[in-house]
């Protein structure tokens, strides 16, 4: 018997059904992460080197749109859902109702996104921020998502434990919320758009809503489950967890116009969004108070969990504070806003997914990730790269906002002052990407450790005509 066959029996029978779909989703997420980050690096490069890549497929706008769609709808959504499906099967002690549909869903989702990248780069964007993919591809991705997500809802309905764990609330919320947010937003922006600014408001409802009510709860589900597992302690306070969940649920959907403060919208819409944006500091604080402690720094998973929680604390509070009108006046339209978004997506969401993946993947495949040095490089380069990139945009963006709003300096000199920060940002992103390449290399080594012995056996069989002993 080979290694893998031996250890996979350590999975409970109901957990076995989750293995295929979860590995499938995580593999997709990894590929999209690498593609998306490469596109992000190129887009960042073009901001300080406008003369390079003078091709229509490589305008800053097209690269940014392709990168954002790949990173959000590909990497973050599939990675988060992969962890989520596993947690539901594991916590609910229930098999996935129809794991084949999850695999099928992931496949058509990946096909649509694969088609979407060249479509966006060749200029087929809808021009709606956050929903740039053409409606037809959006519908296919929605279908793929529903096939995957239905397994999640069914697993909660079939839950065989007493009461639900916090991770299960967050996942149920996320899976149902995104189905509604994505489907209705496709209708109100792409298929039957309202006139003028209504499209921008609905797109804002999608962008903000999908972050606070889909990506954030999926990441929080992973943290609420794995942080206690990594520390060996239970949650600091079991009363704070439902409060964090319901405050996120209440305020998360009302932040639609936080990206359009001062814009051409009815004043009450902006006021409501600003208020909700500030109130989101509540779930951010409740979750980090409950989970953050100096724990588990010895393991790769523990370090990513720490990193993710810190990014959530600073990024989430930063979002809440920049919703304030006085801060928004200074920082709106600057790189500072981009810094916060990157901190939340790359640090918080991907950090949580990696923390979970470093525990989960070895369990699913029955082997540890083969190279410890590559794992260390992954943590170190991710943290270093992201800190450089975010700090460059935060400081540069602050100076940019100050110069734009409180001095009479002309735009050309403001951009000249900003240039070193733009360069530093690209360098930071490149370091971050290198960290993910290290992770990818580790995964390739892991796959090779399964494939090579089998291949060697096959080759030996062909050469000698006899069956040699299986390689260890």
């Amino acid at each position: 018997m080979s290694d893998s066959a031996k250890t996979s029996t350590s999975l409970e029978p109901h957990e076995q059904t989750a293995r295929g779909p979860v590995l499938n989703l995580l593999a997709g997420a990894l590929v999209w992460l690498l593609v998306g980050l490469a596109l992000t690096c190129l887009a960042s490069l073009k901001l300080h080197a406008p003369g390079c890549l003078p091709f229509s497929w490589a305008t800053t706008g097209r690269l940014q749109a392709a990168a954002a769609n790949v990173l959000l709808l590909g990497a973050a959504a599939q990675g988060g859902l992969g962890i989520a499906l596993w947690l539901l099967a594991h916590l609910g002690k229930t098999p996935l109702a129809c794991w084949g549909s999850a695999v099928l869903g992931t496949a058509i989702w990946n096909l649509a996104l694969t088609a979407g990248v060249p479509v966006l780069l060749l200029g087929g964007s809808t021009g709606i921020p956050g929903l740039e993919l053409p409606g037809s591809l959006g519908l296919i991705i929605l279908l793929g998502y529903l096939l995957v997500g239905a397994n999640g809802v069914a697993a909660i309905a079939n839950c065989r434990r007493d009461g639900y764990a916090p991770a299960q609330w967050f996942i149920l919320g996320a899976v149902l919320w995104f189905a509604w947010i994505y489907s209705t937003s496709l209708v109100t922006t792409v298929f039957f758009p309202g006139r003028g600014v209504l499209t921008a408001l609905s797109a804002g409802w999608f962008t903000q809503g999908s972050f606070w009510l889909f990506f954030a709860p999926l990441a929080l589900a992973a943290l609420y489950h794995y942080v206690p597992e990594l520390t060996g302690n239970s949650l600091r306070s079991s009363e704070l967890a439902p409060l964090a969940f319901w405050s996120l649920a209440l305020f998360g959907g009302w932040t639609a116009a936080t990206g359009i403060v001062g814009g051409p919208l009815p004043a009450w819409v902006i006021t409501v969004s600003v208020a909700a944006g500030m109130l989101l500091a509540i779930p951010v604080l409740l979750a980090t108070v409950n989970l953050l402690s100096p724990f588990g720094l010895g393991s790769t998973a523990g370090r990513f969990a720490q990193f993710s929680l810190l990014a959530f604390l600073f990024g989430g509070l930063g979002k809440a504070l920049t919703s304030l009108r006085c801060a928004n006046e200074l920082l709106h339209f600057t790189r500072f806003e981009v810094a916060l978004n990157e901190l939340l997506l790359f640090g918080f969401v991907f950090g949580a997914i990696f923390a979970a993946a470093y525990v989960l993947v070895p369990k699913l495949v029955g082997r540890r990730l083969p190279n410890g040095a590559l794992a260390n490089a992954h943590v170190a380069l991710s943290a270093l790269g992201l800190v450089i990139a975010v700090a460059a945009y935060a400081i540069g963006g602050w100076k940019q906002g100050w110069a734009l709003n409180f001095t009479s300096a002309d735009l050309l000199s403001i951009n000249a002052e900003l240039k070193p920060f733009l360069r530093l940002h690209t360098a930071g992103l490149a370091v971050f990407l290198l960290g993910q390449v290290a992770f990818g290399a580790n995964v390739v080594l892991l796959v090779a450790s399964f494939v090579l012995p089998v291949g060697r056996t096959l080759v030996a069989e062909v050469i000698t005509g006899s069956a040699p002993a299986p390689a260890k």
Partner: protein, 209 residues
Amino acid sequence: MNHGPLLFFGVLATLAASWLGLVAVPRQQLGNLDADLSTNAANVVVTHPPARSGEATQGHAVYVSLGCAACHTQQIRPENGGSDLARGWGQRRSVARDYLRDQPVQLGSSRLGPDLANYGERLGTNGFNLVRLFDPRLVVTNSTCEGAPYLFEVRTVTGEPVAGALATGESGRQMVPKAAARQLAAYLASLGSSAEVPEAHLPAKEEAK
């Protein structure tokens, strides 16, 4: 938190409330806005927002397709919300009515480039200089805007030069703007929303009151 149905309905109710509040109700409030007669800064009666030529409408699609909104906004914030008016990017703040002809609207969220809400009005009668599109640094030495040389093609021209064509340095060879370049230029020249509206007054009218 142990009641499945309660959790389920709570989850749906919270989102439904925000959807009603920030998607459905604004659609009810703004969905029936329409172009109306108005007066501009020179006190001439105009339709606002003005109808766009076919070429400019096609130019809007080019603007969307190239992703110009990655660096350019098209929105003027009110006086107490930033320096947009002080920078001369507009005479009054933008209002929802200004965007009725834009589908999809290109508000933008980054100001690495100047705001373009009233770009056409700033251009004046000369119109848009196509050289800026070919390579912005030929016009403004340290511009950080990227050029779009792919919107031009080199052609051998005999006789009269093509309107809007750029010289290449070789005699008889010209850099001729493709249709998309001319459309984008027409769109940029059409950008402007300095007409009096009930929601936001022009400074001159404000003083008169």
